[in-house]
Amino acid sequence: MNLPEAKVSKILNFSCVDGPGNRLVLFLQGCNFACLNCHNPHTMALCNHCGDCVPACPTGALSMIGGRVVHDPTRCDECDQCLEVCPINSNPKVFQVTIGEVLELVQRNKPFLNGITVSGGEATTQLKFITALFGVMKQSVSLRDLTCFIDSNGYLPEFAWRSVLPYTDGVMLDIKSFDCDLHCKLTGRTNERVLASARFLHAEGKLHELRYLLIPGMTDVPAEIDRLLDFVLDLSPGLNLRLNAFQHHGVRGEAQDWPAAEKDRVEEIASQLRRGGLSNVTTPAVYI
């Protein structure tokens, strides 16, 4: 069978922040948003093999072979100089994995896992891989009790969601803002499809969690919080809503000058949403 492969920027064996329980997480490379506030900008683009990173590597882990940038993990000490110099927000350390390799890893870690999550970048830019992987897992006698989750920005259209949902147990979906102009400014795209995805996934019983990033002066203003409250109330007051706090690590460009979200303000907004009727609002365990 000719199964798709994935471009992966990182695999984690243990994550307690990517869905229920402990999850193996695949961070797929590539994103269809260009968020000013992105904490992992090096996951946005696929490498175009320009080679600018090769001389920047202090340990000689990068080389040009046959016109392609090749990364040698055994020589890499994770200094991330290559990410600094990359002109297109990509990452020469991205590697290709097959479905079989992922299954082997999941099988090995299975005693520790409640499930797996694909994240990004924007995971759904590699939808065929996700559909194939989840499909195989759901057919596997030894793996089908593991849940399969997607972490998404919600830009995927409904017909495409329909192709993967039969094999998907839940989706964690980010809403960047409710004001369409602000959404455009923050992400480079409008938000109609994001809001439609949230409604559709909820109607299908697959919306595990909504996530909302609080950026001071932008997404934490009263008008946005009111719309967030109305939107979630309209779906279900008991929906899991996770508030995230904008911080600076990893951020590039103008967002470095934005103020970080402070714990007191985040907790105040959480209280306001709870008073408004939401029963499952979570705030960050740490601010870093």
């Binding site: 922040v17 229920p20 970080a260 960050p284």
Partner: protein
């Protein structure tokens, strides 16, 4: 003599010691002014060079290192020596235990084992309301922490799901005291999912309890059972351990020219010397100290023939890395399959050596292998078989690397997993991790929840290099936030640390 008197004087006038600490320091000085039990030349030299170590237990062992009384004896039969009647009510039972603890010695002079508290107290709980039980346990817990402030004092609960175990977990996670330490004994056939999850939730609150894997421990012992004391020592109940001696595997590796020399010559030599040291100390306890003439034996709290000898090792990580270097291979302990396998081979060799050496005055005639947690001044050496702090891989890889050791260390493995604080928002992740570890043969599970560099925040990765840069660049506002968050989480415990200390970590 003048020198000794000068030391006594320094202790009595030391402004940093409380009066009870002075009394303890004086008694240690007095004991250590006696001649050491007679050692042969080779053993004495190995001890002097600290390739083998007596844990600075003192020159004249007059009490076992760990005493694990069967406290049900004093509850059911009372005590003639202590003039106690059998307990009739829960108040009397708790009161008898509080009295009993004061008469149970150990290496620290404080009890290291408080009993299987749910088994002990349940017979007295008929007709006691949940509220009454909760408030009695709370006062009991406060007493233990304030009067016997040693973090190695250890209570056991489980495997059954019962009202006493639940009350203890509730009180313990509320009070967040350093003492007593607590182990929940888990048996998937007996423990309910609810009590297991309560134990995991409590770990997130206060890094306690430790969870012991009953199906792994139970077959090692007999029908009288076992208890977990101090720093995860599994020992025969109604007995304990006479001594704990240990080998510094790093020092052994340094004295070996090659991997084969290590296995063929140098390790067997120091294993032998450590056995000799152990036997000499055990002999002194049994033949000279008269400890076993105590009322504890006469009344049946402990039995003379139920004391094991703990054969400890530490610095496995440094030993493996040293041997890898000598073999000219790069892989490091905890991260490389070949290095991890070499570690497992060392553990197997040690287990074999311990199983084949007959010992006198020792339970079942054999010592028990132990992965030892370390002393406060083991500079440069990693406790037991642990992976060096700061270089641990992710928790799953960490457990997979160490699981192969656990079967060998029948008297316990001291291992602590550091988990980042994001787990507070996802309790199920912790219980799954514990179950995963136990399915691979982990004997005990201990976790510390703390801020560390590997923090991940919802939905995205934090790269180590980012955190590094971030720290270098200052960012005072956020640093303050981080420090503030840390302080609020750990502050209660930090405030208490100077008063409640882990006596066992300090040299005698």
């Amino acid at each position: 003599m003048q020198e000794l008197q000068a030391r006594f004087k320094t202790i009595t006038e030391d402004p940093s010691l409380s009066f009870s600490q002075k009394a303890r320091a004086l008694s240690l000085e007095a004991e250590n002014s006696l001649a050491y039990p007679e050692l042969d030349e080779d053993t004495a030299r190995a001890l002097e060079e600290r390739v083998i170590c007596d844990m600075y237990e003192g020159h004249a062992p007059f009490k076992p290192r760990y005493v694990m009384p069967d406290y049900s004896v004093v509850l059911k039969k009372g005590s003639e020596f202590l003039e106690l009647e059998p307990a009739q009510t829960l108040d009397e039972a708790i009161n008898s235990l509080m009295i009993a603890y004061h008469h149970v010695p150990s290496v620290t002079n404080m009890p290291v084992f408080l009993g299987h508290l749910d088994d002990l107290l349940l017979p007295y709980c008929d007709g006691v309301s949940e509220e009454a039980l909760y408030s009695k346990i709370k006062l009991f817990w406060r007493y233990l922490d304030r009067v016997l402030p040693d973090a190695f004092m250890h209570a056991n609960i489980g495997p059954s799901d019962n009202q006493v175990a639940r009350a203890i977990l509730k009180v313990d996670s509320e009070l967040k005291q350093v003492a007593p330490n607590l182990t929940f004994i888990w048996d998937p056939e007996v423990s309910s999912d609810e009590i297991f999850q309560m134990a995991c939730d409590s770990i997130i609150e206060c890094s306690k309890p430790h969870i012991a894997n009953h199906p792994v421990h139970q077959p090692i012992f007999d029908s009288a059972g076992y208890g977990i004391a101090s720093c995860y020592n599994a020992l025969p109940l109604c007995g304990g351990a006479s001594t704990l001696t240990r080998i510094n595997l790093y020092e052994v590796a340094k004295r070996s020219v090659s991997v084969e020399d290590f296995f063929q010559n140098v390790l067997p030599r120091y294993v032998d010397l450590n056995f000799r040291l152990t036997q000499v100390r055990v002999n002194h306890l049994f033949e000279k100290s008269r400890f076993f003439e105590s009322f504890l034996v006469k009344e049946g709290w402990i039995a003379k023939d139920r004391f094991t000898a703990m054969f400890g090792i530490f610095a496995m990580a440094e030993a493996v890395n040293e041997l890898q270097e000598k073999a000219g291979v790069a892989g490091r302990y905890g991260h490389d399959d070949a290095a991890n396998s070499l570690g497992h081979r060392i553990s197997a060799a040690l287990a074999e050596a311990v199983a084949s050496r007959e010992m006198e005055y020792v339970w079942r005639g054999r010592a028990m292998l132990h992965s030892q947690a370390g002393l406060s001044d083991d500079g440069g050496c990693t406790p037991g078989v642990r992976i060096p702090y700061g270089s641990e891989p992710d928790p799953v890889t960490h457990i997979q690397a160490l699981a192969g050791h656990h079967g060998y260390y029948t008297s316990g493995v001291s291992e602590i997993l550091t988990l980042d604080e994001t787990i507070r928002n996802n309790r199920e992740a912790l219980s799954q991790l514990v179950k995963g570890a136990f399915s691979l043969g982990f004997r005990e599970f201990s976790a510390n929840i703390s801020s560390n560099d590997l923090v991940r925040v919802t939905g995205y990765m934090v790269r180590l290099s980012d955190i590094q840069k971030f720290k270098e660049s200052g960012g005072s506002r956020i640093n303050t936030t981080v420090l503030g968050a840390e302080a609020s989480v750990t502050g209660a415990i930090l405030d208490r640390a100077p008063r409640v200390i882990a006596h066992e970590f300090t040299r005698g």
